[in-house]
């Protein structure tokens, strides 16, 4: 009897961007480049994480570009979490910079873990 789906779930995949479910820690992994044209795919993936996961782990380690509209989707999701829940974003410096420019410091539920010195 299968009560859980164990196969990796891919929300979006094209030559520029891949968004998939991450199992450990549970959340969403995004790789490539994310801009407004693909922000809806991220919104859908995050919505599922909000339903399934206590805290949202967003792994952006392999994300090389994030624009302001896509950053807004991340910040909105974090800002709308109930007070007891967090969004933990793992990313490199350029993505951290984009999130900060979009207003990350004004979202208390957001935690950023920044990977340094790797390009």
């Amino acid at each position: 009897m299968h009560t859980r789906t164990v196969a990796a779930r891919v929300y979006h995949e094209d030559p520029v961007l891949r968004i998939c479910r991450q199992h450990v820690p549970p959340g969403v992994r995004v790789a490539g480049e994310l801009d407004q044209t693909r922000a809806d795919a991220l919104r859908d993936a995050l919505a599922e994480a909000v339903r399934l996961d206590p805290d949202i782990h967003l792994n952006l380690n392999q994300l090389h570009f994030l624009d302001q509209n896509a950053a807004r989707v991340i910040l909105q999701t974090a800002a709308n979490l109930p007070a007891s829940r967090r969004m933990v974003v793992v990313c490199a410096e350029p993505v951290e910079r984009a999130l900060i420019e979009a207003g990350a410091n004004g979202v208390p539920a957001l935690r950023m873990l920044v990977r340094n010195g790797e390009r």
Binding site: T37, L75, P94, R97, A98
Partner: protein, 159 residues
């Protein structure tokens, strides 16, 4: 395929020493001898990733890594504004004068109603737009020229 969208060869210096500006304002022309056109490329919503790749490669030749990164962010936000609000497409031209990298994004959209005020403050998370120009203003010296026939935004970044 994104790589198929790549720009053609970069314009040669000699043949493109003209200052890449169109309407009037000869006073703003950079001196022909100091102009180095790096990129002249049309874009639309389908090739923004390719545009970023081209911008990144060229910015890295004239700027340090951190500045090049900022250039990509600013140019992307401006070109993405043209795609969303400026008629769906536009044109990017980049050139260097002295210690400044100029990034000019033009479109033929309906124009901005209040170019002096737009992007002065960070919009709320729920607000749909405005953050592109906010970021561009923070990271560059921005000039906006707009009318009902289109908008040209020039971001100058110190090298």
């Amino acid at each position: 395929m994104v790589s198929a969208e790549r720009t053609g060869s970069a314009p040669r210096r000699g043949s493109h020493s003209r200052p890449p500006h169109t309407t009037g304002s000869t006073a703003r022309r950079p001196r022909a001898t100091s102009v180095r056109v790096l990129l002249d490329q049309a874009f639309d919503g389908g090739n923004l990733p390719a545009l970023r790749t081209a911008v990144s490669a060229l910015a890295k030749k004239v700027a340090d890594a951190g500045t090049a990164e900022a250039v990509v962010l600013v140019v992307h936000e401006l070109s993405s504004n043209s795609v969303r609000h400026g008629g769906g497409s536009g044109r990017l031209r980049m050139w260097v004068t002295g210690r400044g990298l100029h990034c000019e994004v033009s479109d033929q959209g309906p124009g901005l109603s209040d170019p002096g005020a737009v992007g002065r403050e960070l919009p709320a998370h729920a607000a749909p737009g405005g953050r592109g120009l906010w970021l561009a203003r923070r990271m560059s010296d921005l000039q906006i020229s707009t009318s009902h026939r289109g908008t040209t935004v020039t971001a100058v970044m110190a090298l």
